[in-house]
Symmetry: none
């Protein structure tokens, strides 16, 4: 039997019904009379709602197509595995010895399902208002500010719409340099619109640097209006 | 401007934020700065959760595949149009004159979207606990008892509840035989409750045979009462 106290600490939540939590942590490979599949069904729906509502409120100007797209980028196996790893859920799940040998404790599908099940269990015993802060906290921890901005705000796309309307052309990005050792590289990118340079910025990848400099340019266009 | 009072009466709910309800009733054909698409995004997620939780609790012995299948049969355009008609939502929506001429007030897609949006709006202004009884009430009104039974048809669970209350024990299913070639096998199952045989039935799988014989037993208990 695992010691849940660390998991509880990590989630800043005290489990009430231990049977329910055990069910949520139990993978079907154990062939017990219960496993976490039913709770996963419930957890999936509640996560979809919490993330949907979060995005609905965070992006009052996005239409439902954009909201769906952003949500789909968070609410999926990869996204939930990321969150499961944030709370080290793999340390607590119950799987068969065959799955254990098969590296099941680190499999995305198993971790993601268990994550949904745990959240389903918390919802069931404590309700939506108890679960919301847990999820939003985890989301913000896992997707750091800069990543969140990139994920949510596609500055390149937004800028392109502006420049096409204003100049009938799209921005040009030039790589000005790259710095640091391979595992810690930074890129510096400049942005040119209609023959004029609008800014220069660094980022941990070319993509991040482009987004950063697109943001700088957008702010200038906003300033003009 | 519509008179909402009838809709409010029908839902047994007082709208708080009139702007939000107007948004929920406004179809995109009107080309206003707002329409019900964002609220529909939210409503879709909240309906999925409410119906999912309802089924989760109603069918403790169904696995997640069965729950998903039942939910999918309720949470879809047809299902929501049925519920929209139950509250005569078509009388209250705002659509363009072109859509009006095009019979838009009776289109499944428009009604279903508006239904999700209205439920999203109620969730937003009053929360999950206010919305749940509204939805469950509508579901039970729209799907009469007999349909619900057929739709869900988890007779085993229903019977178990009856026998636990009446005898403090659960039914026993015995396989009496199996017939036919492998690809077309049939199973015959009998049911025993408190030491007495209540019936025997065939089915294309053990599970289906058990459901069939559980139904036979339920009818006897219903006849008794």
């Amino acid at each position: 039997m695992s010691d849940y106290s660390k998991l509880e600490k990590c989630l800043d939540y005290q489990f009430k019904n231990k049977d329910l939590i055990i069910e949520a942590l139990t993978h079907k490979s154990l062939k017990k009379p219960y496993n976490n599949e039913r709770l996963e069904f419930l957890g999936d729906a509640v996560l979809n709602l919490i993330v949907g509502e979060y995005l609905y409120k965070k992006f009052p100007n996005s239409n439902e197509g954009e909201l769906s797209k952003i949500r789909a980028s968070l609410v999926n196996e990869n996204g939930f595995t990321k969150l499961a790893n944030e709370i080290k859920l793999g340390d607590y799940i119950f799987i068969s010895t065959a799955e254990e040998r098969n590296n099941g404790r680190h499999k995305a599908s198993i971790l993601s399902d268990a994550f949904e099940a745990i959240m389903g269990a918390i919802y069931l015993e404590s309700g939506l208002d108890a679960l919301k802060p847990i999820i939003l906290d985890l989301l913000e921890k896992s997707y750091e500010k800069i990543n969140l901005d990139v994920l949510f705000s596609d500055y390149k796309t937004a800028l392109q719409e502006i420049t096409q309307a204003q100049f009938g052309s799209i921005p040009e990005y030039k790589i000005e340099g790259s710095y640091g050792p391979d595992h810690k590289k930074e890129f510096e990118v400049s942005i040119w619109i209609d023959g004029k340079k609008y800014g220069q910025a660094k980022g941990k990848s070319k993509k991040l640097a482009q987004q950063a400099v697109a943001k700088i340019a957008i702010e200038q266009f906003k300033g003009d209006n």
